[in-house]
């Protein structure tokens, strides 16, 4: 890291830490959402950006993660800090099943992506029939004490959720930075670039691809737990929906697949612009259902056409953050 990027990082860190002190509830909720998508995008990026395995069904892990922790809390009063382990375990197991089926039987590329969609879809339908978790009517966690910080049960004001999400996003960033420089990062990128060559160099590609899927699933499950306790309600139709999977991957795709800052930048750009447009239209008194999706489509089109590697690599060059800023 050069001096310039250190200064930028310090400014960003200070701004993020002090944000709840001067931001109103709206701004705080927007930034929380940005951090949520930055985190989930980072998790997805481990699988696709690093290891080259395209998942279009990451809503599966958000949903399972959310339902397991929320269900434990709802029925047994088990707090989220114990619940996350159950959530992670469930998601790792789900990821392991999908990975095993795909990688053992040589399903890759588009067919692998279809498999991930299929699993998310039939899990969604399955959850419609689990009455203990509310079925299609949804699962609701009691909202209480919005003023006091109850970190243990993850009940509290928006600022608390903001800091929890910030910690998760920073943690994911640090983890990915370390991973990319470790043996795993080298092996994943080798598999992404050319699997046959990777195998010839002694890499057990099955094992390392499994690791990428399982790690990505575990990370995404935490996004699900956060989602459950932040919004207090879960509907299979909503949380397992393919549009949620797409929302997760838009950030890294637009910011830069395989880069460390791409998911963060992409989440920020998309969330801010989409919210501004919605607000603007509301202020003008116009209402277009689905305007956000149309907007996402347009941004994706522009980025794919003009910045196929995403915004971050181009921006990093422009800011003089060095050739490797995007990669390392």
């Amino acid at each position: 890291m050069n001096r310039r990027s250190l200064v930028l990082a310090a400014l960003l860190a200070a701004g993020l830490l002090l944000l709840p002190a001067f931001a109103g509830p709206y701004l705080l909720s927007v930034v929380t959402l940005i951090l949520f998508f930055a985190y989930a995008g980072q998790a997805w990026n481990v699988m696709m950006g690093f290891a080259g395995q395209l998942s279009l069904g990451h809503s599966l892990y958000v949903g399972i993660g959310a339902y397991v922790s929320a269900g434990l809390f709802f029925h047994y009063g088990i707090g989220p800090w114990a619940g996350i382990w159950a959530s992670m375990l469930a998601c790792v197991a789900a990821g392991a099943v999908i990975g095993f089926l795909a990688f053992r039987f040589g399903i890759s590329g588009v067919y692998f992506a279809l498999l991930t969609i299929a699993f998310a879809e039939f899990t969604r339908i399955g959850f419609d029939h689990i009455n203990a978790l509310g079925g299609p009517g949804g699962l609701f966690i009691k909202v209480s004490q919005r003023e006091t910080w109850d970190l243990l049960n993850l009940r509290g004001p928006p600022a608390m959720f903001y800091y929890v999400m910030l910690a998760l996003a920073v943690g994911a960033f640090a983890l990915c930075t370390w991973l990319l420089r470790s043996r795993a990062g080298y092996y994943w990128q080798a598999i992404r670039e050319n699997e046959e060559a990777a195998q010839a160099l002694g890499i057990n590609t099955f094992r390392w691809k499994m690791l990428a899927v399982m790690l990505s699933a575990a990370m995404t499950s935490l996004a699900g737990v956060f989602f459950a306790f932040y919004y207090n309600n879960l509907f299979p139709e909503q949380i397992f929906n393919i549009s949620r999977s797409i929302e997760i991957i838009l950030g890294p795709v637009i910011g830069g697949v395989g880069t460390l800052f791409g998911p963060i930048l992409g989440a920020a750009v998309l969330t801010v612009l989409a919210d501004s447009i919605t607000e603007l239209l509301a202020a003008l008194g116009w209402e277009f259902p689905g305007v956000k999706q149309v907007f996402y489509g347009c941004v994706l089109l522009v980025v794919v056409m003009f910045l196929p590697h995403g915004i971050w690599p181009a921006l990093a060059r422009r800011l003089g953050l060095g050739r490797t800023a995007g990669k390392d």
Binding site: R181, S182, R183, Y186, Y187, Q189, A190, R192, E193, N194, E196, A197, A198, Q199, A200, L201, G202, I203, N204, T205, G258, R323
Partner: protein
């Protein structure tokens, strides 16, 4: 002592016999060339040695250990490195990172792998291009990178699949000198598939000729190129080598 021993190896694809009961061996420290016309089954044999294909019949022994049926990564771990006929660089990674991936096979960590990778790059003459993305390399440099990556895994036996194809004569001579040096100073055993007879004659101590999946000659280069069967099937009646 034979480092590699291939016994009665056969492989068919949908009823077409690509390799029929091929047997040959490679002595420890030798350079052996596998030659033959296109479609003779050379790459099929290579892919069986490297673990990409499973033989229908026959055995492959490496350093006394049966390796037929192992996966490519297990073959690499056993000590066999390979290059691909159509080069397969990790295009998006830098030249150095490409070689680090190979070096990690026998390094405790990334730091150690990086040091080893730098030594390999220096030796093969690619250290000046170490920060370039592999996609930006010229074909001769890509061939060098392919070799560097395989060498970084510290093999005892190196399988080279047409690494001289597409090189100019001076570049071929450089490659030949490089492999000779590796063979002499490091004791590296080499089995190569090659069409460039200039390289075969300069490098190989022994030549195995494959035709229609069968071995039709096996001996010293000077003898093999005069063998009537080889002349007829591969080199041509009036070959000058």
């Amino acid at each position: 002592m034979d480092l590699l021993q291939v016994t009665a190896l056969s492989k068919s694809f949908r009823g077409v016999r690509a390799v029929t009961s091929a047997s040959f061996s490679v002595e420890q420290g030798a350079i052996v060339a596998l030659i033959g016309p296109n479609g003779a089954g050379k790459t099929t044999i290579f892919n069986m040695l490297a673990g990409v294909l499973t033989p229908d019949a026959g055995q492959i022994h490496y350093a006394g250990q049966a390796i037929h049926g192992l996966r490519p990564d297990q073959v690499c771990a056993a000590g066999i490195g390979r290059t691909f006929q159509i080069v397969k660089p990790f295009a998006g990674l830098s030249v150095l990172d490409n070689v680090i991936v190979g070096a990690l096979a026998r390094s405790a960590g990334v730091g150690e792998a990086r040091r080893h990778a730098l030594r390999v790059l220096e030796r093969i003459g690619l250290e000046a291009r170490r920060d370039m993305p592999a996609a930006a390399l010229t074909l001769p440099d890509r061939k060098r990178l392919e070799v560097a990556r395989a060498l970084a895994t510290r093999p005892r036996l190196l399988l080279l699949d047409e690494v001289m194809a597409g090189l100019r004569p001076t570049e071929t001579d450089q490659m030949v000198a490089f492999f000779r040096d590796l063979n002499r100073s490091d004791g590296l055993t080499i089995l190569l598939i090659e069409h460039v007879m200039r390289a075969v004659m300069a490098l190989a101590q022994r030549v195995v000729v494959l035709h229609h999946g069968e071995i039709i000659a096996n001996g010293a280069p000077e003898d093999v190129v005069r063998d009537p069967a080889v002349l007829e099937s591969y080199l041509g009646e009036d070959a000058e080598v």
